[in-house]
Symmetry: C2
């Protein structure tokens, strides 16, 4: 029986998402379990292994049909060594050799990637980037992540920190970002900082309908800013508009870096739909050069939360699967 | 006799530089002739062909020892079609099929690349980037160009406009760049704009020793700014310092994009030596994140003006040469 499926695992701070994917990118089964990161790496790796085996069972397959297990994981990591270094959302983890632990636990070859890179590869392989060879993904959530595909290859970087696109500096000496730099695009246009900018403006005395939330002791998130902007609140409109404008600048910069055919936006913020996409596209065309008509299509990603495990599976197939097939044939 | 050499041609607005290079990147012969672009494309292509044949002769070789001719050319172009679209420094040129004209004129396979991309490949193959697989080149001249090598491959981009690194926006709504955008790094840190910023400050009444040049009807260039800064002129020091700081930000952004092992600086401005390199390195470490120690080495390129024709030769070998060899063997 051919090894014609791959397992993808997306390790998040809250949930582990696992799926079985065919070698042409179709999802056969998937499931999600709480991470329980507070119990430490051994516990979490056991949960990942168990979830992977359950997903294989749910797909009505046996392990001899699986090429490899691909893992997407957050934070600083070494793809080459298969080690998670220090994920911000898994406190206490330090230099965990997840790849080899998963390989041992499942008895299958394993491969470790950055989660945003995996999501980009998933969209390239099976989502909004299908049919392109050159694309960029921005993940717009609490932070801003990114992934770049050039001629069908994922950009990992010499130090395995490629495509940390949220940390491109677009405002020298600007806002302090969580990463320690000043003026990162993330420090303006992520969901977290969009909300923070609104709260700061209100605390500085700018009038806004959002102030009522603060007065009631409630927090403000990016969705609240979006809703207030849609309802006509001038401060919320300005903040939302600036967010869209910064995202457009990030797109211009990617146009001039890898010059992709498509730029995809994903993550929680794309829930705003055209209210996000239309101004990003408008500002992109306004702010980019006219020296060449090299304008990437700016679109939404299509795989939602599945992009991570699908891409992790695809990358594992590309990295490990080929070797396995070769070995089986030799 | 094996085809074990490649010809590289660097087409500039002022001069055509041609060299014969071995398949391991050693220059056997080189020469430079005026471009005479005012006489039009046919005339210039004839000069390129003649120069290529002369360089082969100077290397004491015959054409049957040459794999291919590689061309590096400025401005907007199509690598895929081998067409120069509208080079700013060759006025009147429009959609010139240079690749096929050179192939016809020399009787050899030809390949066309962007000149800064060719220079980056030259440094990667035979210069300051040797031994790396992931590097970035910034060309610091009148404008700022760039080239990116990822895992040994040149980033050309879907629209053949990859690595236009001078046009990354680092200052939204900032200075108008020659490309039509606002706030490009080129609009601050190129030789041209470094001088322009000094002139503007003087015209705005800031005192400076450089004012004497303007009073005499002389122009101010980046070298004048550098000299005045070295001599202690406060305005020139501020301008030079800002230039170095913007270049450091461009390096930070490339760290987060392709995450290279090395970033090389080339072009006229590196004549300033440590007076440029030291502050760029200092600001890089000051401005970049501490989240990971993924710091590329920032160094000067080593091939000077030869990088363009060497890289054009290397890329022609990679693109066309392989096919020629295959054809000869079939």
């Amino acid at each position: 029986m051919a090894r014609d499926h791959v397992v993808g695992v997306d390790l998040g701070g809250t949930n582990i998402k696992v799926g079985v994917v065919t070698t042409s990118g179709n999802v056969i089964s998937s499931l999600s379990v709480p991470t329980e990161g507070q119990h430490g790496p051994d516990h979490v790796v056991n949960r990942m292994v168990t979830a992977a085996l359950k997903a294989i069972e749910a797909a009505q397959l046996t392990k001899d049909r699986i090429l490899a297990v691909g893992i997407g994981a957050p934070g600083s990591m070494s793809h080459k060594q298969g080690v998670i270094i220090s994920p911000p959302n898994l406190p206490g983890w330090s230099n965990v050799p997840v790849r080899d632990m998963i390989a041992k636990g499942t008895g299958l070859p394993a491969n470790l990637e950055n989660d945003a890179n995996a999501a980009a590869y998933g969209e390239y392989w099976a989502g909004g980037g299908r049919g392109t060879r050159d694309m960029v993904l921005f993940t717009l959530g609490t932070g801003i992540g990114g992934g770049v595909i050039i001629d069908g290859q994922l950009v990992r970087g010499f130090f395995d920190n490629g495509a940390e696109l949220g940390h491109m500096i677009v405002h020298p000496g600007g806002r302090l970002c969580g990463c320690g730099q000043h003026g990162c695009v993330e420090a303006y246009a992520s969901a977290h900082y969009t909300a923070v900018r609104a709260v700061e403006a209100i605390k500085n005395g700018e009038p806004s309908s959002l102030k009522a939330r603060l007065d009631k002791g409630l927090t403000i998130d990016a969705r609240n800013v979006e809703d207030a902007a849609r309802a006509g609140d001038p401060l919320a409109r300005r903040i939302w508009d600036e967010t869209c404008r910064y995202l457009a600048i990030a797109c211009v910069n990617m146009q001039h870096f890898s010059n992709p055919q498509k730029i995809l936006l994903s993550g929680g913020m794309i829930g705003a739909g055209a209210y996000l996409l239309d101004p990003v596209r408008k500002y992109f065309l306004e702010l980019t050069w006219k020296a060449a008509q090299d304008y990437p299509a700016i679109e939404f990603a299509t795989l939602g939360n599945d992009a991570g495990f699908i891409g992790a599976a695809g990358l594992a197939m590309a990295e490990v699967g080929g070797q396995v097939t070769a070995r089986a044939e030799s």
